[in-house]
Subunit: 304 residues, 2 copies
Amino acid sequence: MNFADRLIRESVRKNSKICVGLDPQLDLLPPELLVKYGKTPSGIGRALFEFNRGIIDSVHDVAVAVKPQIAFYEQFGIEGMRAFKKTIKYAKKKGLLVILDAKRGDIGSTASAYSRAYLGGKEAAFPVDAITINPYLGADGILPFLEHCKAHGKGVFILVKTSNPSARELQDQRLESGVPVSEHLAAMVRKWGLELGGTLGYSSVGAVVGATYPEDAKKLRKIMPRAIFLVPGYGAQGGTAGDMRHFFNEDGHGAIVNASRSIIYAYRTSGKPFDVAAREEAIRMRDLINAALSARDAPAGERP
Amino acid sequence: MNFADRLIRESVRKNSKICVGLDPQLDLLPPELLVKYGKTPSGIGRALFEFNRGIIDSVHDVAVAVKPQIAFYEQFGIEGMRAFKKTIKYAKKKGLLVILDAKRGDIGSTASAYSRAYLGGKEAAFPVDAITINPYLGADGILPFLEHCKAHGKGVFILVKTSNPSARELQDQRLESGVPVSEHLAAMVRKWGLELGGTLGYSSVGAVVGATYPEDAKKLRKIMPRAIFLVPGYGAQGGTAGDMRHFFNEDGHGAIVNASRSIIYAYRTSGKPFDVAAREEAIRMRDLINAALSARDAPAGERP
């Protein structure tokens, strides 16, 4: 089934617009996990997976998707990649979509190799549902991924406006035509998405639009009405629930909001077990975003 | 030692400006390797490494560096990554610099995790000498890598103008200031490189500039006089030895030219064993580029 359709159906079924980032950092993990398995490569791999499994178990019915950031697994080498592979398998088993944050960007046979690795069918080494990709190389770096999206019901989220402060250095630069780079790319994303539309009105070619730039989101929403926005930067990076209304369409769809640190490391401020704290924080985030979207639909006088 | 210094010393010692891309594709490998080990994941991993070892053995004194493209290992999962790890270790043992073509691009703690994985000191999971990185996210995606460059004598090559046809779609767009995106980035690369200058006049912050765009190289050379250019797209993609003079400075340094398919798969047209064919083709490429650079230095009347 088309990826956009799958994502929206799960979002409706769970009444949720949230995605939980699985970004395990050794210095932020519950220390008892590292004590339990030891700081050898295979011990670290086990600790990463046990942590992720705990998070997945506690958010699987609250979140639509998880978003592992592959850098946090690559840094632990072969054992890290093993933990990554086990994590994506487990997340799927628990009914979560898996959006891989890898920001890959290359051309031709190289792009095909990346795409095969993550979006391929049975031959995929690390099969996920969607992947983030970087558009700096133009269509040559995008189209090979779309082939696998079509063949296997997968999706991509193309970086358009990232959540970080220095996103401005290139993405906000105005072209001679007067539009900023991010909007120039947004028009390309819309075009690339035309062939991957689902039955529910959205395309499997989505865009990354940072929660920290709600004013940009308003404009980008108009340029890419059928793209699903993957929205990083909520929570720890500063995006708020109130801002989120700019990322969604009037139909209440069109975005999935990610939080990583504020959920998976919630135990560090709450003092509760990490899985309990993560669930509470995920529920809070889900409800805040749902409330913000409902408020938008209410008559102006009744908005909070 | 500073990466730029290391690269130039090796280039002088070997009288070579070339880099060999290690991009193993199953359908292009010598079939006997796959027959020998079988098409299981571990068999494929062994075949990849045996192929790479053969290439490394035959070009180690001809090339300055090898450039594994990590996508071709990721696509084979854990066993592919194992073959990658063995390959980089073996290449170093044979006196080659290893430039990882990974085009990573992310921010903050994620960028640090990537950097630690590849450019870290003893804690690096896959230690290489330099890595290609993508500038779409601005300084937030670059500076974390430079920390490891400083601490461990490593280098980066930032994508400025890639070799593919659709590089134009974003990289050639003119900004309001009149300069194209690639030149805007080149100015940033120069600035980022200031803190990483070596004793031989070059910086460990290099740039990727495609062999297929010699006219751009001329301009970019002026904007980034101290950056070493990693030049993909020679050979199979169309860049010629004659074009290469635009990528080097007057001192004969400032670039390293990569070829992948035209060297490692030379056996497919020559009919010789793959390692013999690769060596012959690497020597031919080295000599052609050296000749083109010598011709440039000759009085105009004597140029070929």
